[in-house]
Symmetry: C2
Subunit: 106 residues, 2 copies
């Protein structure tokens, strides 16, 4: 089952899980207490996050603490990079096209 970081962060619940784990490692039960769903539903989300390495496991007896692996989000940041210069430049793509049309006319 191929998992993709972009697909992993597409779900709002999974983004929220990442936010929680960013401040503190947590168990599935601990996470589930903060949502209005079952533990199994949360475990499924965590499994998806785990499969694309956004989360790492630490075993402690019968409990499993999930840790956030921020490095994996670099992939998203990397994809975003070329676009970042665009919105910084105060001109979006449509503005540029209109500007070019005006130049051709004059």
């Amino acid at each position: 089952m191929r998992r993709d970081v972009f697909q992993a962060i597409a779900d709002p619940t999974r983004r929220e899980i990442l936010n929680m784990l960013a401040s503190q490692a947590m168990t599935p039960n601990g996470l589930a207490e903060n949502f209005h769903t079952t533990r199994q539903a949360i475990s499924k989300h965590v499994k998806i996050l785990s499969e694309c390495q956004l989360v790492k496991q630490e075993y402690s007896g019968r409990e499993i603490y999930y840790h956030f692996n921020s490095k994996k989000l670099k992939e998203v940041d990397k994809w975003l990079q070329p676009f970042r210069t665009m919105w910084d430049s105060r001109f979006d793509q449509l503005d540029n096209v209109l500007k070019n049309l005006k130049n051709k006319r004059s």
Copy 2:
């Protein structure tokens, strides 16, 4: 039908479409030529991108030129912001936890 930027960029084809439109506005037919799918499939993707305003339309006769709206990607960048400091700090979350445990012990 609620559309979300995160969900929109989850699909690799849609990310590729955005990459193309970033350099040049294109029509559905023009886009479809670069993929091994039908025009209708691409149109569906473009519609999704349009619904969350990642793309804007410019009508020219019977053709429709789709323009990339980079500003909308700021939402992703904004969500990424707090995590960016984490991977910059050379310590990921797991490292910090282990470090804390070590401090408590000593």
